[in-house]
Amino acid sequence: MTQIELQGISKSYGRLAVLKNCDLAMQSGQLLCLLGNNGAGKTTFLRIVSGLLSADKGKLLIDGEEWSLKSPEWRRKCALVAHKTFLYQNLSGLENMRFFSRLYQREFSEEELRKRLADTGLTRSADKQVRLYSRGMQQRLTLARALLSDPDFVIMDEPFTGLDKDGSALLVRMLAELKQQGAMILMTSHDPQAAFAVTDGFVRLSMGVFGKVSLVDGKGWNELEPSLYPQNTPEGQTA
């Protein structure tokens, strides 16, 4: 059982403090959903965690041992699904998969890559260039691409965006499988109820500070909502 801790993550853009001493702990097989209004700093936090953006302050501990958030070893343990698809539009779905698998030094056979595409419902589009894919198909391919490295830590920024009902169900199924395999998943969502089926807990980022983690533990959304959105916190202040 691996545990990671992010301690005191802070980030400012000029005078604007976006993140103030944010702490978060997660363990293998856990999925946390990060909530927050537009501009709350969720994406900034995810980019810092994935090693793409430098934090002003803060550290990462894996099983108590300190790691650099900017080290290639950490970045290669992570997978990121963001607003943009990260796909090459003039390459086919299969070529994109082959390209990224080679970068991760994982030589999958063509059959294996096709199987992974088939698992995301892209069997017939595997050889088409990605620019011919719909947004939802690109999102499915993005998921398949992100999981090529069998990551320990999966970071997802609004992964339900662009997915139809089947696509959302597929994503929920994939998340459940990832959890079973022991991956940690940190995702943001404007629609927490969409991820409710697989989420272990919610944490809200407001005014640059993380609230307390609210674990689901069999509770319904109606029971959790008051602790995540206390009535005395005006929504307008959180942006």
Binding site: G51, K70, P72, E95, R145
Partner: protein, 224 residues
């Protein structure tokens, strides 16, 4: 090292395949280069001696200006869908991203040179198939792509990249521009090697220094 080379090969394969399918860079570069050569041809009435003296200068202006258009487009695929982030997360060493892009850009410059020189040769009725001249242009293209790729990776993230890249690049390339033109003129006019050897050395050293610096600072440029 083996992994690093394999990553490099994969990245170059991706760049070349993308370019082969989109022809984004080459179309812009070639259209500009060929038009420029035609304009120079009509604008200047030159006798054979002047042609030999001016050919390296005209050619280098055409090649660098066209090359800048190409550099501006070299990170478009990465910018469009944010795939640069995916590359940063996937590769073991970030310098491989820069080096692969630099080699791809250099190969585009070579294609440009291979197409432009015969056209120029035909229009000006001048023999440009001189190994020394080709070597000078190739060394110049290497330095150009080494400095240009690093700057393009920085300006690609700005809104004014089309303007910013040439403004930053051309001052840095001053030694290269001078060296290519001086060495090229020496070669074309049949001067003794000793008279332009120093310019060839400058080209070589500049290429090595710029490649080394880019290797060293690319991580910082990308992550900071």
């Amino acid at each position: 090292m083996k992994n690093w080379l394999s990553t490099l090969k994969t990245l170059i394969w991706k760049d070349l395949l993308q370019e082969w399918r989109s022809k984004d860079m080459l179309t812009a570069m070639l259209a500009f280069a060929i038009l420029s050569i035609f304009i120079f041809n009509y604008a200047m009435e030159l006798d054979p001696r002047q042609r030999a003296e001016l050919a390296p200068g005209i050619l280098w202006v055409v090649i660098t200006f066209s090359g800048t258009l190409g550099l501006n487009r070299s990170f478009v695929a990465e910018q469009e869908q944010g795939s640069f982030d995916a590359l940063v997360m996937a590769v073991p060493g970030l310098a491989s991203i820069w080096f692969a892009k630099q080699i791809s850009n250099f190969l585009m410059m070579l294609v440009l040179i291979v197409i432009v020189l015969p056209i120029y040769s035909l229009l000006y009725n001048q023999n440009l198939f001189i190994p020394g001249l080709w070597l000078t242009l190739i060394l110049g293209a290497w330095s150009f792509s080494a400095a240009g790729t690093l700057l393009a990776s920085m300006t690609a993230q700005t809104r004014m990249r089309d303007l910013l890249l040439p403004v930053l690049l051309f001052p840095i390339l001053m030694p290269v521009n001078m060296a290519v033109v001086k060495a090229g003129t020496g070669i074309m006019t049949g001067a003794a090697l000793a008279s332009y050897q120093v310019w060839l050395s400058i080209l070589l050293v500049y290429g090595i220094i710029m490649t080394t610096i880019s290797f060293m600072v690319f991580d910082y440029v990308i992550l900071e």
